[in-house]
């Protein structure tokens, strides 16, 4: 069921512009806005929260909320650096909204959240004495305590030590499941997006370039720009596959087979080995085929060595199922 809809949202800040943004978020959905730094993701999230006077409409449960002030929008916001209030301790931070909003059973809500987020022993601590992970949990608890209808997360994992990111991603998923809370999560990390998102929107230069389910967007980019951003390699003209559609295709370096002898894949090319680099557990192999260059990754556990010396002929092959068209 559609809960939230952004219609023709535009906003100009100096030379940068959010340009005609449209998307919908369903009830209980985990929606990720994925884009590079400076693409306008945070500005878009802040516009949804009501910090900017936008052109266009934001509908929430069928009502236009674009004229409402942030305190009347029922959104919870967690910033990248958590923005905890330094003048308040953990308990006071979490319960901040209790002064301004009607929260049913505030003490019970506090202890329920503190119990779930492992904050019970920290409730009377000053925020200066918290680790990055603890700060993040306090920021999430503070947002959840206010009983928002939609949770906005701005790069919530960026300030977290990489060692703990996986466990915190799981933790975000757990929160989403437990509270069935519609969530919009901004990130530049597609690993994070692929794990968490039900649906993804790719944001580039203040515009949304593609929207779809996580697997659809991450596996089938609609254009070259999105493909490059998502880290697609081997973006080549489809004429190489004997197709004259004029489109481009991409093939995952991990699915390319290499051999000194002819292969039996759907597509097989003979080329010259340009470079073979041994990296910890795999080889990066670059093969020139006509004017184009293919890049393949070969795990050392599958084969030790580069199959050929530099400049020698070599066969590469891949199957139809591993080809994505842009």
């Amino acid at each position: 069921m559609k809960l939230f809809e952004v219609e023709n949202l535009s906003y100009k800040l100096g030379d940068f512009k959010l340009d005609n943004i449209n998307f919908k978020v369903n009830q209980g959905e985990y929606f990720v806005l994925l884009g590079q730094s400076g693409s306008g993701k945070t500005l878009l999230l802040e516009s949804i929260a009501g910090f900017n006077s936008i052109d266009g409409k934001i509908n929430f449960e069928g009502k236009d909320i674009s004229e409402l002030s942030p305190e009347n929008r029922d959104v919870g916001f967690v910033y990248q650096d958590f923005a905890l209030f330094p003048n308040l301790n953990v308990r006071e931070n979490i319960m901040f909204s209790g002064r301004y909003k009607q929260i049913e059973n505030p003490e019970e809500t506090l202890h329920d959240l503190a119990d779930f987020l492992g904050l019970e022993p920290l409730l009377n601590r000053e925020i200066d004495n918290l680790s990055g992970g603890e700060r993040q949990r306090v920021a999430i608890a503070r947002a959840l305590f206010s009983k928002p209808k939609i949770l906005l997360l701005d790069e919530p994992l960026s300030a977290i030590d990489p060692t703990f990111r996986n466990s915190i991603m799981k933790f975000l998923k757990d929160i989403h499941r437990k509270y069935n809370l519609t969530t919009i999560h901004v990130t530049h990390n597609f690993r994070e997006a692929s794990y968490l998102a039900d649906r993804i929107a790719i944001v580039m230069n203040g515009q949304i370039r593609q929207i779809g389910t996580a697997s659809d967007v991450l596996n089938n980019p609609e254009n070259l720009e999105v493909a490059k951003f998502l880290g697609f390699k081997n973006i080549l003209p489809s004429s190489m596959l004997n197709e004259d559609s004029g489109r481009l295709f991409s093939v995952d370096p991990n699915t390319i087979h290499i051999s000194k002898d002819e292969l039996k894949n759907d597509y097989v090319f003979e080329g010259k080995l340009e470079e073979c680099m041994g990296i910890i557990d795999h080889y990066k192999i670059f093969v020139k085929v006509g004017e184009e260059q293919f890049f393949a990754k070969l795990l050392k556990r599958d084969y030790m060595g580069c199959y050929a010396d530099r400049g020698e002929s070599i066969f590469i092959g891949f199957d139809k199922k591993d080809v994505s068209y842009l």
């Binding site: 305190e71 003048n87 901040f96 503070r142």
Partner: protein, 255 residues
């Protein structure tokens, strides 16, 4: 000789520190204690010190109420004329205090504005109000600039998050912006109060009477000489140092 640079710094710092502290300590320690206690019993001294403290406190409170919003506007918003406003706030501490006194006298001593205030029973010449405006004009810069720097240090994201948690702009200002810039505001307020306590040039143009402590010291010096004015000056210095140390101590102890 490895630390010659540090020794050099300490030597030069000591010169300026002695220059600042010796006259004050000489004033305090160079006066006979019995004479100081005697002076403290004099009615005009007590009322003059009380008046100075009271009026400078009033002016500080007035600027807290009006200057904090101004400091917040300057710290948070970019608008045409902001630099001009900042310059206007700084100007009073650059001009001669007697010139400022004359400028105030021309506004609050005569003319339309003076008459408008007079119609509601407020006059400025030779009144507490006159002393207050003189103190305020020359010292509000310290509070406004202190608060402005304090507000700039408060991450705007704190205020934004507070809004999403249900607080309106006024509640955010009172519960987040002011408490998190509290140290700079208190320091600015102390500087303002201290500057107000010592204001002489502008005060004397608007209100020779009732006498604030600096005017009393000057009056005694010109009428009776150094021996009669020095104990009053010493008492004023002791009280100021005590109050400033106490407020700074409390401020540092606060979270």
């Amino acid at each position: 000789m490895k630390n010659w640079f540090l020794y050099g710094l300490i030597f030069l710092a000591t010169i300026v520190l002695l220059f600042l502290s010796v006259p004050l300590f000489n004033m305090i320690l160079g006066n006979d204690l019995t004479l100081l206690l005697e002076t403290l019993k004099q009615k005009d001294v007590i009322s003059s010190i009380y008046l100075t403290m009271k009026v400078s406190l009033w002016s500080m409170c007035f600027v807290l109420v009006t200057g904090l919003p101004l400091a917040y506007i300057i710290a948070r918003y970019n608008f045409f004329g902001r630099s001009l406003i900042e310059a206007m706030i700084d100007i009073p501490i650059m001009i001669p205090h007697t010139a400022a006194g004359i400028a105030l006298l021309m506004i609050f001593g005569r003319g339309t504005i003076s008459e408008a205030f007079e119609s509601i029973g407020i006059t400025f010449v030779d009144t507490d109000m006159g002393i207050m405006v003189a103190m305020m004009f020359l010292s509000s810069t310290f509070l406004i600039n202190g608060a402005k720097e304090g507000f700039k240090k408060v991450d705007i994201k704190l205020e934004k998050v507070a809004r999403t948690l249900g607080a309106n702009p006024m509640q955010v200002f009172l519960r987040i912006s002011i408490p998190n810039s509290r140290k700079d505001i208190i320091n600015g307020a102390l500087m303002m109060w201290g500057r107000g306590l010592g204001e002489f040039g502008a005060v004397i143009m608007l209100a020779y009477h009732p006498m604030v402590a600096p005017v009393l010291i000057y009056d005694r010096f010109t009428s009776y000489g150094l021996a009669y004015s020095a104990p009053v000056a010493a008492i004023m210095i002791i009280i100021s140092i005590f109050i400033f140390l106490a407020v700074r101590f409390i401020n540092n102890r606060l979270k």
